[in-house]
């Protein structure tokens, strides 16, 4: 006797060769669907066409077929055997097994389609990224070009302001030229900020990791602002922990930029009291030292919501501070991005009418002794006196020529001015100079082309220093100029002091 539970999961039937049920041998699975002398095809449509084709005396298995009874679907496996006078049909209910197969199958297929969709989306994203990269490159190119176009006239504005202020002028004119110089300086900061932000956004920011003296950088920064600050009601204070090593590995230019930005901000928003810059060591291990820089002021402070948005671009504009304090409101955004690139961080605490504290923390790699020597050498690089030297200046811009001539003549330099590269080439073949200043964009022969034609110069001129005098200031430009033979670059706009210093260092 077969137990009832087993009877429920199968049914064994015999049919003739045309599917007419002759006998129900055993089992009760969906028994009501099978009636004697009725066609088995009604309940098992998959047997129509199959039974007729069965090989006699050969067992045959059909897996995963479907039977519907009482509107319920059952997955079944069917065993068939064709005898000489009938066919045995054994139906096994496998619904429970196929339920899991169905789930697994559905999941497998769903995963396939999701993966496919992801792949398609990734391809689409890649295309969009390329478009965005291209647009970003175009933007960077545009900004670099605009920067060049702005820097040239700005150089003239600042140069002539400096020239005018050196003349015998009355107090009013002195005041006017001072404002002219301040505005020009602000414009220079804005141009630099926009270019910096564009470079950081384009992922083109490359940090240098060379031995630097943090104390010196911070001190210089404070001294610069002490010199510039005419408000005697503000005291600038600098403190450094003894734990800070003399040298660490880092990017001096960018550290200076970060500190300058924060100190300059503090000065903008403080009318009286103290502005302090404190350097401390927060933690260290064998290789790294986390150094914190705290810039505290006793200025007007901010509300919580203002402090929350302070690192977003153009925040200053939104608060209509631009007209009062100058700048495009990009400084803090750049600081935050620079710190991110250095694996550092910045936080701000502020109280309205009490003051603000910016705290930055940067992990610096410690230096080995051989690297310390390198920094000392750079610091001791000698400057030479310009008096009595022979300098050739090639620039197609008459206004810029005048500024250069004015600065150099004040230093008692014998200046030869030419208006393009071709003229410069001509004089370099026939006359001997101590140093050459070349503008880059000149008619006939550009500065870049000329510096690469040293074989055509008089023998004595082949070894003299060539300096590029240019408004092209992207790192790529600067690298290229050095590669093709310029020893240094004087970036426009420049002050007379910067100009003289650069020449003195390269004579």
């Amino acid at each position: 006797m077969i137990p009832a539970k087993i009877e429920d999961v199968f049914i064994q039937i015999t049919t003739n060769f045309f599917g007419v049920i002759q006998n129900i041998i055993a089992g009760t699975f969906v028994k009501k669907e099978f009636k004697l002398q009725a066609s088995i095809y009604k309940a098992c449509p998959f047997l129509e066409g199959t039974l007729e084709a069965l090989e006699p005396h050969t067992p045959f298995l059909l897996e995963g077929m479907l039977i519907i009874s009482n509107s319920k679907e059952y997955n079944v496996d069917i065993e068939l055997f064709k005898n000489d006078d009938n066919i045995t049909v054994l139906i096994h209910n496998r619904t429970n097994v196929y339920k899991f197969v169905a789930q697994l199958n559905q999941h497998r297929n769903d995963i396939f389609f999701i993966k496919r969709e992801l792949a398609e989306k990734n391809t689409e994203l890649e295309k969009l990224r390329k478009i965005a990269d291209k647009a970003n490159e175009e933007k960077s190119r545009f900004l670099a070009m605009m920067s060049h176009e702005i820097r040239n006239p700005l150089n003239v504005i600042l140069g002539y302001s400096e020239m005018i202020s050196d003349e015998q002028i009355n107090e009013n004119v002195k005041e006017y030229t001072k404002h002219l110089s301040i505005s020009g300086g602000n414009l220079k900061v804005i141009v630099n900020d926009i270019l910096d932000l564009s470079r950081i956004e384009a992922g083109k920011l490359e940090l240098v990791n060379s031995p630097i003296n943090l104390k010196k950088i911070a001190e210089n920064c404070i001294q610069n602002y002490q010199f510039q600050n005419k408000n005697t009601a503000i005291k600038l204070v600098f403190e450094i922990s003894e734990k800070i090593p003399k040298t660490v590995l880092g990017d001096d230019v960018r550290i200076h930029q970060i500190l300058s930005n924060l100190v300059s901000n503090a000065l903008k928003f403080t009318t009286t009291g103290i502005i302090s810059l404190k350097l401390k060591c927060s933690s260290e291990d064998e290789k790294l030292m986390n150094i914190s820089f705290e810039i505290q002021d006793s200025g007007r402070g901010m509300t919580e919501s203002q402090a929350f948005r302070i690192f977003d671009e153009y925040q200053q504009n939104k608060k209509t501070d631009h007209s009062v304090f100058g700048g495009a409101g990009l400084g803090l955004s750049i600081v935050k991005r620079l710190l991110k690139a250095m694996n550092g961080n910045i936080s701000v605490k502020s109280e309205l009418d009490k003051g603000t504290i910016f705290k930055i923390e940067i992990p610096f790699l410690k230096v080995i002794s051989s690297e310390k020597i390198k920094i000392k050498k750079e610091e001791n690089f000698p400057k030479k006196i310009l008096k009595g030297t022979n300098i050739l200046v090639a620039d197609d811009d008459a206004l810029n020529q005048t500024i250069v001539a004015h600065i150099l003549k004040k230093e008692d330099v014998a200046v030869t001015l030419v208006k393009d590269g071709l003229e410069a080439l001509h004089v370099l073949k026939t006359r001997v100079f101590d140093l050459v200043l070349l503008d880059i964009h000149m008619p006939n022969i550009t500065g870049e082309q000329l510096v690469q034609q040293k074989d055509k110069f008089a023998k004595e001129n082949k070894e003299i220093p060539f300096l590029a005098l240019t408004a092209n200031t992207t790192p790529e430009d600067l690298d290229r100029y050095k590669e093709i033979g310029f020893v240094a670059v004087i970036s426009k706009p420049y002050t007379a002091a910067e100009f003289i210093e650069k020449i003195g260092l390269n004579l």
């Binding site: 449509p45 998959f46 129509e48 066409g49 199959t50 039974l51 007729e52 084709a53 069965l54 045959f60 298995l61 059909l62 897996e63 995963g64 077929m65 479907l66 997955n75 196929y98 197969v101 169905a102 199958n105 559905q106 497998r108 297929n109 769903d110 396939f112 389609f113 496919r116």
Partner: protein, 161 residues
């Protein structure tokens, strides 16, 4: 009336069940529910003044080199290989798949149908036709009911040959 067993085979998700649902019930559902084993539907078609009862076996879709059980082909008069015109992997090795089906079924001709034409533009479809290494009998859209009836009539014609 003669009854003919025909099979629809091809990769999973190419729309075999949708083609059958459109042909037999004139219905279409966007949901994708994978078929397990075999689901058999029947429909009577008129072909050259002959009524043919098509017993349509909707065979669970395969993946890669997965083989269809040989038992399914017993007594089959025709088979349709369905691929998805928008999915290259469903027709990339079509030669290989057709050979395998012919070996398993003993059938000489397999009806080849490219489904989901609604997902491609005319130009894209033309590219697919050029890429597929065999002659496509019909390009269909179960969703938009394009060429579905013709595809099954073609299958019926193969079944009575």
């Amino acid at each position: 009336m003669i009854a003919k067993k025909v099979l629809l085979v091809g990769n999973f998700g190419v729309g075999k069940t949708s083609l059958i649902r459109r042909f037999v019930l004139n219905q279409f559902a966007e949901d994708y529910i994978s078929t397990i084993g075999v689901r058999v539907s029947a429909k009577v078609v008129q072909y050259e003044n002959t009524a043919i009862k098509l017993l349509i076996w909707d065979v669970a879709g395969t993946s890669g080199d997965e083989k269809i059980p040989k038992a399914y082909f017993l007594g089959a008069s025709a088979a349709m290989f369905v691929f998805d015109v928008s999915r290259i992997e469903t027709y990339l090795n079509i030669d290989h798949h057709l050979e395998s089906i012919k070996t398993l079924s003993g059938l000489q001709n397999i009806t080849i149908v490219g489904n989901k034409k609604d997902l491609l533009t005319q130009e894209e479809l033309q590219l697919v036709v050029e890429r597929v290494s065999v002659n496509i009998d019909l390009i269909t859209s179960a969703k938009e009911d394009e060429n579905v009836e013709n595809a099954f009539l073609e299958l019926a014609s193969q079944a009575i040959k």
